[in-house]
Every structure is written in C-alpha cells, then in structure tokens.
Symmetry: C2
Subunit: 218 residues, 2 copies
Amino acid sequence: MTITITAFERSPDGGKGLARDTRVRWALEEVGQPYQVRLVSFAAMKAPAHLALHPFGQIPTYEEDDLALFETGAIVLHIGERHAGLLPADANGRSRAISWMFAAVNTVEPPILELVTARILEADKPWSKERMPLVEERVRARLAQLSARLGDADWLDGTFSAGDLMMVSVLLRLRASGLLDAYPNLAAYVARGEARPAYQRAFAAQLAVNIGHQGKPG
Amino acid sequence: MTITITAFERSPDGGKGLARDTRVRWALEEVGQPYQVRLVSFAAMKAPAHLALHPFGQIPTYEEDDLALFETGAIVLHIGERHAGLLPADANGRSRAISWMFAAVNTVEPPILELVTARILEADKPWSKERMPLVEERVRARLAQLSARLGDADWLDGTFSAGDLMMVSVLLRLRASGLLDAYPNLAAYVARGEARPAYQRAFAAQLAVNIGHQGKPG
C-alpha cells in the first residue's frame, strides 16, 4: 500500500507548520506509516486534475490504492481507524475522541479562522481596528471553555488521541495573536503536542519543503 | 438501549429547523431509532450539569447507556456507524462519506456562520453594509465549487449518506440570505433532502417543541 498526500509547493506560512498537510503528516507519523508527498502549485490546485481529488481546490488530499479522500479531519480519522495509535481501542472512548475531532474543526476553529481572516484579509479595511476586539472576544469565549474542561489534564480525554492532534493543530494557529498566553494550561497543552516526536518529524518534513524555496524568487 | 438528546427549550430560530438538534433527529429518523429529548434553557446550558456533557455549553448532546457525546458531526457519525442507513457498506465509500461530513462542517459551514454573524450580531455595526459583500463572496466561492462538483447528481457520492445529511443541513442556513438561488442544482439538492420522510419527521418534532411556546411570554 502506497500513501500519497498533497501539500503546497510553497506554503503561505513559509513553513511554520500551519498548512493542513502538517496535520496529516503528524497522524501518519504517530501511526508509523510512510508516505509520499506530491507538491502542488496554487495554479494546479484550481485545475481539473486536482479538483477531481479535492472539490474545493485545497490541500491536503490522501490517496491509498483506489481510495481518494479530502478534508483533513476525515483523512486523520481514516488513518486512525486503519492503524493503532490515534484512537482508543474501546468503542465509547473512540466515539468520544471523534467528538473532540469535530469540536476542534467545527466549534474551536471557526472563530480562529475568522480572526485570521480579520488580521490578514481585512487588515487594510476601514473597520479593521474597531472590529478586532469583537472577533478576539469570540475566540476567547471558546478558549475559556476549553481551558476549563482541560483543567490540569495532559490530554482532553485520557491518553493522546486524534482529538488532541486536531485540537492542538487548531490552537497552533493562534500563536501569532498571543491570545493563547492568557490560558497557561492551553499553552502547555499545545507545547505538549509539539513536543511529541511524531509532530517534530511532521514539522521538519514540511519545513524542508519550504526551506527549499528560501531566497528563490517567488 | 435508550437514546436521549438535548435540544433548546426555545430555539432562537423559533422552529425553522436550523438548531443543530434537527440534524441529530434527522439521523435518528433515517436509521429508525426512537429517542427521547431533554429540553434545556439558555441558563441551564451554561450550568455545570450541562457543561459536563458539553464543554462548550451548546446543544445537542447524545446519551446512550454509559456513553455521552457532543458535537453534531460526531453524533451523526456515531449513529451511522451503529445503524444501517447513513453510511455505505463498503469501507472506501464510508470514508468518502465522512470526507463530505467534514467538508460540510469545516469548509462550507464556516463562511456561512460568518455570514449569519454578520447579518445578526453585527447588523448594527458601522461597517455592516460595507463589509457584507466581502462576506457573501466567501460563501459564493464555496457554493460555486460545491455546485460544480454536484453537477446533476442527486447526492454528493452515490446514494444518500450522512455526508448529504450534514451538507443539506449546513446549506439550509442560507435560505434567509437568498444566496442559494443562484445555484439551482444546490437549491434542488437541499429540497431533495427536505423532502425525505425522515427529515420531515425530524422537522415536525422540533417544530412541535417550539410551537408550544408561541404566544407565551418569552
């Protein structure tokens, strides 16, 4: 079985690990599955060949024999179902870990994406400064709830799971904003995720792609 | 086995079916599982007893024997894994249906939620009118891609699945905006979902709760 994923030829973040292929690389590293990477340019992402794999013209995609998947959450879940290391063995624990995967992408990530949009895509708009506190407050509301639930535990529900992988990945997007600093247990939780050898390997692999472009004309 | 879900005592939409318990009711109706509903007030949703079930103080939750779940996507997936009717029998088709579930909540719904926020929570802000075209354009970009992929098919990937249940539910939030009207195949897709007997039963059940409050003081 050969696994092939797609990633940005040049990531918009320059290799900070925020592109979503890092989440899939991390999952594959946690379960010890080798994989190949096909790099795609922004132009190629919107071309028919890639759209056949990913209807929304994004990365990552996942190919394994005659199966093609898109959406990071679905890919990480697929990997967790096929290989040990990302989901608890008992059925109830597994369903709860999947609750946290969906919570990461559907409850915690949307206000964070809105903050990223406000900071980057709407930074030059006349309303940018006045609107920012509203957007930040929506993120803080979620962080406060997540912080209260995590308490002094290492992971969200027992041992490390795909739910933690997704949640840590989502929270990493907040680093530039400084919003995480007000919640020391969440900052420590993110650091715990980053310290995992599998994350380190995934981060290094995506960085190597992007370092290759440094100093070259865009 | 007794299944108990939670729903708003009084839904903010007054019974239009947009509260997320409708998605879970729909899934349970598709697989023919009876369920009980515990209604919660806005105050109760933020109290410790409910936060123990749902860390973000929302509805729906799902209880079944000693299992407690939150997050609509995870609950619908759990139902689909335990009962026939929501996920294809073959492993690859099942993984692809899950791709569409995540696409619904993580790629299509976030810009729609941003539009709802802009139309409701930021309607009285000085930037509201000038910013709205930007927000609408982000929704249209996703709708155009989804419309291109759906083409003239009835459902997103073969027969009706939990992926369609989630995608139709997400698109239903756009009805008030009129944005769906520009994509006749998506409008027909949503209508096809609403026409399913299981959806009709789910809609009627949530409406009955909210009709009970009509004319009573809030």
